[in-house]
Subunit: 152 residues, 2 copies
DNA sequence: TCAGTATACGACCAATTGTGTCGGGATTAC
DNA sequence: GTAATCCCGACACAATTGGTCGTATACTGA
């Protein structure tokens, strides 16, 4: 539960990989898939999705492939997840604003919606570049990168 | 994606309901299920799970049922979710410490683990009592209840 | 112009997970 | 002893996710 789908995971990995290779004009889906042992065709579909959402730019033909549409710093993990898995809500009742309006006595939705927003905020504060910059192991103890306040 | 299962939702609802009725010594699974239109037998299993994890105390026999094992303030949403859905990891690769060790080049797991911890922290900061205390609508603008720092 | 490389897209199936039901057994109160 | 209640495993069904296939389309370079 509360876990990323593999697709979203693959998407993040692919973007991270692209962010790590800024010199190349484009990388094909197969290139990326091979680098990580990801099913190539599946990754292709994911990349296509992200292209449609404006996160990537694609180019067909020889030496074609995908490239980041924006700076790695300007693409958040939230956007990636949103593009691949669609809008997400932590509460299972918030589906069509239908099923749970039937039980007006249940007020659990409201506080959980705040949690949802908080998580979304955290995800928004993470950029692809953050993922790509892998500090060496050993806890470098760098400063706090983000601060998220949860208001009940 | 990234959503609570219905079971966890039901579990939270049930605990909230129990927290709202502190006067009664115990409420049966059926009582709670009827109050919200939740499948009774399913809820029963969920309550049993939470009992086994020490969140509830149960009592068989007539006028039996369930009661909170601790103060509502002392039970966090995190514990509930953990009890019902098991340990959760946002990263899909962190399953058996197996699949992703094969690709040591992928460093995406690390930063996402921090996100995971952050979310867990948020969930831990929410108690059943927080859910039960439904402020009236209208944004009461009360002070910040929790502050979670995300350190990349 | 033509062959090769690559994206684009839809349909489809397989695997997993989530949701809900059933049935029998054990406890407890009255 | 009977009715209410918890306990628990097995099962069936539904939804989601993961992955494949086939084909169409676009671009490149010789
Ligand atoms: S479960 Fe949807 S509002 Fe309570
Ligand atoms: S996907 Fe698991 S470490 Fe990268």
């Amino acid at each position: 539960m509360l876990k990323l789908t593999k697709k979203a995971d693959y998407g993040l990995i692919a973007l991270k990989y692209l962010a790590e290779h800024p010199e190349t004009p484009a990388l094909s889906a197969k290139d990326i898939a091979d680098a990580y042992g990801i099913p190539a065709q599946l990754l292709a579909k994911i990349l296509q999705l992200m292209t449609k959402k404006g996160l990537l730019r694609s180019h067909a033909g020889m030496n074609g492939g995908y490239a980041l549409a924006r700076e790695a710093r300007e693409i958040s993990a939230y956007e990636v997840i949103l593009a691949i898995d669609g809008p997400f809500f932590i509460t299972s009742c918030t589906k069509g604003a239908k099923s749970c309006e039937l039980t007006p006595s249940c007020t659990i939705k409201e506080p959980l919606a705040r949690v949802n927003d908080t998580i979304a905020g955290v995800l928004k504060s993470i950029s692809i570049q953050d993922l790509a910059e892998h500090e060496q192991p050993g806890m470098p103890a760098n400063g706090a990168a983000g601060l998220v306040s949860l208001r009940l």
